[in-house]
């Protein structure tokens, strides 16, 4: 049974990845490899973890994509969950589209925060987690950040606050695809977050089993961070771990190769 579900999920994720590649080819926009690196993380979050997604429901779990340039993966999950239509998905980055290069909470009712400038989402997530404590709401707050984003001072300010306020309803997911290594190598992030007082778990960010169990492993009186080791451009050989693909859209020939590989 488990294998069947996994296979179905894998097929559907590849379908979504193909849609992402096509929409990026058509628009010549989008951070495709950043989206591929978090597809498995978002799939498990949206399909198997979050308790009711709409942002205005007081008791629902909340999710913020702080690394907003991974927006295509978020849009793919909104498509998967039928929050947007395929037509809307394919309008990505067009003049009147709801879907831009970074998610916009004014245009998408399921998105809590408009992100894009790095280092904003985690602080907002901390504020929501604090509010849940104040208002006695029993929910979980998830926030996905990138390793490059950890260069931002606000990540560490927020990390201090989350510990100080014992935010055990907060789970930060770190997409550790090493895209920030070319500037500052953050190889000891686990120790850093441990020293800030967080519960830390390192997982394979493409293993659904590991992702699922980590999303549920909250510790009392501590915020949690999951360091998800991922491959930027996961699933497409020419894209994997290639900085050249950070904000590159495929040519027609490259698109054909991507679609073939994802088949």
């Amino acid at each position: 049974m488990g294998n069947i579900i996994k296979t179905t999920a894998h097929k559907q994720i590849n379908f979504l990845k193909k849609e992402i590649a096509k929409v990026s080819y058509n628009s010549q926009e989008g951070h495709v490899s950043s989206a591929y690196s978090i597809m498995d993380l978002l799939w498990v979050l949206f399909k198997e973890t979050l308790n009711i997604y709409p942002r205005n429901q007081k008791n629902s779990d909340k999710f913020i994509l702080s690394k907003g340039h991974g927006s295509l993966a978020l849009y793919a999950m909104l498509l998967e969950n039928k929050n947007i239509s395929l037509k809307e998905f394919r309008s990505f980055s067009q003049y009147k589209s709801k879907l831009g290069g970074h998610p916009d909470s004014n245009k998408l009712p399921n998105v809590i925060a408009s992100t894009g400038s790095l280092g904003h989402g985690l602080a907002i997530a901390v504020g929501i987690a604090m509010s849940s404590k104040i208002l006695k709401v029993e929910n979980k707050i998830y926030c996905l950040i990138g390793d490059g984003e950890c260069n931002e001072g606000t990540i560490w300010e927020s990390a201090l606050l989350a510990t100080e306020h014992k935010l055990d309803n907060l789970c930060c997911i770190l997409d550790m695809n090493h895209s920030g290594d070319r500037a500052i190598k953050l190889s000891n992030l686990k120790e850093k977050f441990l020293s800030f007082g967080w519960a830390v778990k390192t997982i394979n960010g493409h293993s659904h089993k590991e992702i699922k169990s980590s999303y549920k492993a909250f510790k009392k009186n501590k915020p949690s961070i999951i360091i998800a080791e991922t491959i930027k451009g996961n699933g497409v050989k020419m894209m994997e771990n290639s900085h050249a693909w950070h904000r590159k859209s495929p040519s027609k020939e490259e698109l054909d190769l991507i679609l073939e590989e994802l088949n």
């Binding site: 942002r55 007081k58 909470s105 004014n106 809590i112 925060a113 408009s114 400038s117 280092g119 904003h120 989402g121 985690l122 602080a123 907002i124 997530a125 901390v126 504020g127 929501i128 987690a129 604090m130 509010s131 849940s132 404590k133 104040i134 208002l135 709401v137 001072g153 606000t154 300010e157 927020s158 201090l160 606050l161 100080e164």
Partner: protein, 294 residues
Amino acid sequence: MRKQFVSTFESLIKKDSKLSLLLCDIGVFGFRNSIAKYPNRVMNIGILEQSTIGVAAGMSRSGLIPVIHTIAPFLVERAFEQIKIDFGYHNIGCNLVSVGASYDYASLGCTHHCPADVALLKNIPGMEILTPGHPSEFDSLFREIYKNGNPSYFRLSEKSNIKSNKVKFGKANLLKKGSKATIIAIGPVLDVTLQAAKDEDVDILYYSTIIPFDSKTLQKSMEKKSKIMVIEPFYSGTISNLIIESLEQKSIMIKSIGVPKEFLTNYGLAEEHDNAIGFTTKNISKELRKLINA
């Protein structure tokens, strides 16, 4: 005005279970009673202004009404992008309350001055900017709008006019009528303006709200005039575009007395800076005469 801020807040939080306050290690002694009584909602969050704005945005998203308080340069200039995106672009409610104004803490040097706050914040669409000139004006303005769901900035100063005016959010007060020119006085520079213009044939408009700007009152005052003098307690020229937009079909002469665009490298008292800049009866009278005779 800071004492009034504490007492207004203490009175409101008794009845409003959504009201909350984040202090960036400033004003902690003043708010000690609220911190003790409402530890979940009133807290000294620490010296991390950028994340404090983000945290407050998360609180606002969750239905709370956050107030954030620290010295103007740290609140506005350090955390500007967070204010722009987390509150401005999201268009969610907050109350940013600063102290220190342009150079109230003159002796602390340029790092603690903030003559640019209003000029910066008025570039954020939807941001409301209030400049009360008296503690009771702060009290009535804050009570009027603190839960209106918009991002609002209250610029508090150590300096205050002797008497308060009956102010309304977004409305200018016509305090004196005349025919030769219109003077716009903003917040705590009203007293010196009234004194300087007491024998002149001019309108005096008092603005305690900058944004939204009360264009109608200005337009009415300027129906038969073409000369405007602005006494603005922040960078000179900050509100010039608001005046021009209000009077777009009209040829006008504007003279601004405000803080010059240079670092104020002297220390001393705020009053000494007032004198050096020209926020004095003598200087305003002289400049007003020149404008009327021009």
